[in-house]
């Protein structure tokens, strides 16, 4: 992809649409407000801005890569199409009954989120496939035809088909699709065996329903976007970022729009992975903190960790289980309600709590002076000296420290008998601890030791908190890249073409069937490669093989990477050895005498990662020039200390900074605590390390 010299990355976020143009080795970016009614307008606007900056015309753009939260927002705000579900008789309520449990046990007034489709839009057919994939009750075409007429009366635009055990035998789902195509030609149809061929009916049905629900909306948007861009003189192809960290064609995106969910954050992870590759770092923790949430991702060997199920649209304090599960390949991220706007209060135990409620942009934190009276994280940062009240957002938003102090006193300090500084310290420590705990739990779940990791921080609020997080997590090195405000859009430009195909098929190692495995993986490889070929006809395509394995009887599978050789010449002893190796790493020991089984098979087809130019070792030159000093609270020592203030734009490669210090730029401020020193790298990254001078 380096062949493309002029490329445009576009990320539609909740507030801003970020546009990045790279041409001839230079990069131009802009942020414009997202235009909800017609999101393409912001793209066109942003595209013209960066083209003008670069002095080119849209016709010279050779490739556009787009990621968007539109799919996610449509699910959260329930703005999808009129949709129906056709499912197996006896299972009409799977998407409503969920796991039959309460995600919060200590709330008598808990309400569960409504399913995407109300009960009257869920229809059944008599048919049944068993757990071996055999048909027990054949599907009658005439029954489906009759049902199609009933469904037509509801005026649906889209239909999801999810039948029991269809991941093992998709024949019935395909028959339903064929009948619908015949009877209801204008209606779009999604079948679960294609959208998410994985065992577990709740996840699979919910995923196919979500896909059907947003498909008309996304197809129409993508069609309009293509037209509008053409109208503006764009002649190149447009691709979409997907949640798994790769890019797919606009047509595949329109067919499987549920794969676009989380494309923005995926771009951020790819951005961090690319920086990791530049520095040759194998273990990276990416940390993205914005106004309302923080996201944390583990990146090993310059590849973000992926998962095959995640939860979207959490309705209850970001709590696990309060959203809806989507089983698609996705970059595995922890998201918690911790951002600059997160509000703080004191609870019944006289403990400070922060988030997930957020002040948003209106009224914003108390310090914005827009009638916000409750203290937010940004207020704490201001009182602790981490922000300069006169130079926030390049001086465009004046901040009022007195308002912060008043809010902190009223809601925290007064109750706990603390002065404003201690209250602010408490708020900052609590939010940092929340994020650190989320990172720790995530690391434990993945059998990783964070002290071996390097953090890469981006997003508006991350540089203010990242170094303290590193202190808490025992992370010695922190990189803050330039362009961090548009990180996701830059990430899009670094992503390969990729598509992951997967399927649930149970196999015990005691019933190991080599030829069948080879056939299955070859089929998945063909399917995945086919998708990638529609994007790129010439590049070599690599296949990454992964199986999910567990001890028979366990409910939690662990992903095992296989080499092409291991996948194509499958042998039980190798599979067992690979499983035991990874299991022991995750959980400390293996279990003797238990059979092992494989539950899910997956092949990710991808073009090779973009070649990176390694950063050459940069010797330290001289100390960076300071523009002044300011007292900044140092959390580790629990006291204010005089800190140097440095303007990031004046830094040159090799210049060093000794903490405590603050590096300012328009978008954010990087805090370097007393425990760290920093150096500017040739690519503009601020490289912050524990202890002595780098």
């Amino acid at each position: 992809m380096t062949a493309h010299s002029t490329r445009l990355g576009v990320d539609i976020g909740g507030t801003f649409t970020d546009v990045v143009l790279e041409t001839g080795g230079a990069s131009f970016s802009t942020k414009v407000l997202t235009t909800y009614a017609a999101p393409e307008n912001a793209i066109i606007d942003g595209m013209h801005q960066v083209c003008t900056k670069a002095g080119i015309t849209p016709a010279q753009i050779e490739q556009i890569i787009h990621g968007t939260t539109l799919a996610t927002n449509a699910l959260i705000e329930r703005r999808g199409a009129k949709t129906a579900l056709i499912t197996t008789q006896g299972f009409r309520d799977v998407i409503e009954m969920r796991t039959e449990s309460r995600f919060e046990q200590y709330d008598l007034n808990l309400t569960l989120p409504d399913p995407l489709l109300p009960r009257q839009m869920r229809f059944t057919v008599s048919e049944r496939v068993n757990a071996k994939g055999e048909v027990m009750i054949p599907l009658d075409r005439a029954e489906v035809e009759e049902l199609a007429e009933r469904i037509a009366a509801t005026g649906v635009e889209s239909i999801a088909v999810g039948l029991i055990h269809s991941y093992l035998n998709p024949d019935h789902e395909r028959l339903v699709r064929d009948v619908l195509a015949d009877k209801l030609p204008g209606v779009s149809v999604s079948i679960s065996a294609e959208v998410s061929p994985q065992m577990r009916e709740y996840e699979r049905f919910n995923t196919v329903v979500a896909n059907a629900y947003i498909k008309p909306l996304m197809a129409s948007y993508l069609g309009r976007l293509e037209e509008r861009l053409k109208g503006e003189g764009v002649t190149c192809r447009i691709f979409l970022m997907h949640s798994g960290g790769g890019i797919i064609s606009i047509q595949n995106a329109a067919d499987f729009p549920v794969r676009l969910v989380e494309s923005g954050p995926a771009g951020g992870a790819v951005f961090a992975a690319h920086i990791a590759a530049r520095y040759g770092i194998d273990k990276v923790l990416s940390f993205d903190m914005g106004g309302t949430t923080a996201k944390i991702c583990l990146i090993k060997n310059q590849t973000p960790k992926t998962s095959r199920v995640f939860e979207v649209a959490r309705t209850y304090r970001f709590k696990k289980g309060s959203g809806m599960p989507i089983s698609i390949p996705v970059i595995d991220m922890v998201e918690i309600g911790a951002g600059g706007g997160s509000l703080a209060h004191v609870d019944a135990m006289r403990q400070i709590r922060v988030g997930p409620e957020s002040a948003g942009s209106e009224p914003g934190p108390a310090c914005y002076g827009r009638d916000g009276t409750r203290p937010a994280v940004t207020d704490a940062d201001l009182v602790l000296g981490k922000l300069d009240p006169d130079n926030f957002a390049g001086g465009s938003i004046p901040l009022y420290p007195d308002q912060s102090k008043t809010a902190l006193h009223k809601h925290i300090g007064g109750t706990l008998d603390m002065d404003a500084t201690e209250a602010a310290f408490g708020v900052a420590e609590v939010v940092d601890e929340n994020m650190a705990n989320a990172a720790r739990v995530h690391a434990v779940e993945n059998g990783e030791d964070l002290s071996e990791y390097t953090m890469i921080a981006f997003g508006g609020a991350a540089p203010l908190h990242a170094a303290r997080l590193c202190e808490k997590l025992g992370v010695d090195r922190l990189l803050v890249p330039p362009g961090a405000g548009v990180g996701s859009a830059i990430g899009f430009l670094r992503a390969p073409y990729s598509f992951e195909a997967n399927r649930s098929v149970y196999m015990k190692l005691s019933d190991f069937d080599g030829p069948r495995i080879r056939d299955l993986l070859t089929e998945l490889q063909g399917e995945a490669t086919g998708f990638v070929r529609t994007c790129d006809a010439v590049s070599p395509i690599l296949s990454e093989f992964k199986v999910y394995m567990r001890y028979t009887g366990q409910g939690w599978e662990i992903p095992i990477d296989l080499t092409e050789e291991q996948a194509m010449n499958p042998d039980a002893a190798t599979f067992q050895a690979r499983f035991e190796e990874d299991y022991a790493k995750l959980f400390g020991r293996t279990v003797a005498g238990m059979d092992i089984e494989i539950t899910v098979w997956s092949v990710n087809a991808t073009t090779p990662p973009e070649k990176v130019t390694p950063i050459a070792a940069q010797p330290a030159t001289d100390a960076a020039a300071t523009t002044g000093t300011r007292d900044i609270f140092d959390a580790a020592s629990g006291a204010f200390a005089q800190a140097d203030i440095i303007d990031r734009t004046t830094l040159t490669s090799g210049q060093t900074i000794t903490g405590p210090a603050a590096v300012t730029e328009d978008e954010t401020t990087i805090i370097i605590p007393a425990s760290r020193t920093a150096m500017r790298q040739p690519d503009g990254c601020i490289d912050i390390t524990a202890g002595g001078r780098p």
């Binding site: 009129k82 449990s101 046990q105 005026g155 649906v156 705990n437 739990v441 434990v444």
Partner: protein, 567 residues
Amino acid sequence: MTHSTVAYQVMWNRLISVVEEQAQALVRTAFSTSVREAGDLSAGVYDTQGRMLAQAVTGTPGHVNAMADAVAHFIRRIGRQNILEGDIYITNDPWEGTGHLHDITMVTPSFHNGVLVGFFACTAHIVDIGGRGFGADAQSVYEEGLYIPIMKFADQGTVDETLTRIIRGNVREPDQLIGDIYALATCNEIGHRRLIDMMQEFDLDTLDGIAAFILDNSRRATLERIAALPRTSAEGEMTVDGFDVPITLKVRVTVNDDHIMSDFNGTSGLDKKGINCPLVYTKAYACYALKVAIAPEIPNNAASLEPFRISAPENTIVNALHPAPVALRHIVGHFVPDVVFNAFDQIVPGLVPAEGAGCLCNFQVSLRPRTDAPAPADARRSEVLTFNSGGSGARPEFDGLNATAFPSGVMTMPIEATEHAGPVIIWRKELRPDSGGAGKTRGGLGQYMEVGAMVGHEFDIQAMFDRGQHPARGRRGGGEGGRTTIAQDDGTKMHVKGKQFVPHGRRVVMAFPGGAGYGDPAQRDPALVKRDLARGYISPEAAARDYGLSETDIADILAAAAKGETF
């Protein structure tokens, strides 16, 4: 070294995070479906006196509170002088653990610089412990399986191989159980390591300071909540099916200055079958009911649980003593909150829900090759346990939850996973219209299930249901919830409890109970009645009978729903 309030607060958060990691590790490594799919487990950290400081939010209330008392028993039984670095302790004592032999509790002492600083404990529900198998059929605890008194599983790092051989020799799935025991040990180890990291980071030699901080704040906050209640007392009562004879649960809840007492005097005596409940498990659910009502956000620890006290005469069904059979103690335990709510509703009206399905609607099927005719060669034996829920009771402001566990915290399993576990077929699992009690707010719907076997198999079903004769009763004019029914598909009657044979080719058809309604149905928001009719939560008959909807209205709503109107 002294620490600031902020530092202590960070440590408290950290401890809660540590036990959560501990619990997650258990979910991921356990073998028993009850743990890994259903979340029937618990994990916590304790100080050197055995006082619980923090407990994972993952888990179910029956463990949450019962485990709080367990560590003190371990300290007493093992003896302080015998608590050594590298030890791991174990028990499944129903009275000193969490209520039945099927719960294994493991405790690990935590040493820092050679000094005992605290304990980690965790509990998991395992699928088999030998004996008669999981069910109510035993006459005494001796028949219910292997009993492991509080003892050392590992002594200074060396596992007691004699014990593991005895365990292996007495259970049906020895590899699974030993796997689960190691999973429990591992999860304590993970907690221990993270605790030591924290102690190093904050330069702590002991947990005394942080323990005092946690317990003082929790006690004060809990007592504030109790102080806000009227100093009064009220009685609640509820009768449920039981095994052969109905059981009446009776409680007097009294609000005192510094505690709330739940006294179960007047409750039925022991049952002959294994549905009796040790006091520790009754206490767990009585305490859960009051805590969720008045102090839901205060984390569980020794101090926040202590003000919720309980008493019950010995050998009532809520205070079963050794050697009463107790395997299915959850049935009575899960009904305790409803009866406590019946009393508490008179103390603070308008806070607690109407009665609900109560106990989980679990059943286990034991499949085997058919015996009435030659079985196919691939027919096999298999045990499959499923967890299912009825509807919860209507709340003062909200409808009850459809097919959702309350008070238990466990999850159901996907039927596709269940069908991979054995030659069982789940033919139906969906909501049961008209089973939610009518009311201003409606009770949650129960569910239908139909279960059969693959061709060539017959099976026994172990039914563990209730509310067949005694449905959930409404509050303040609300209607009762639907009753449990169970029969074979040819009409053959079956019992709500006990092991029953199902011949080849037959299915068991079950309807699980709904929650009761709250308030006068006439006051229900008409928009919600229409919505319920359009969704099919209520039938046209119920809409007319319970909510007075006219025939024309009903016809209009159904016609609009058929045209896709969503209401």
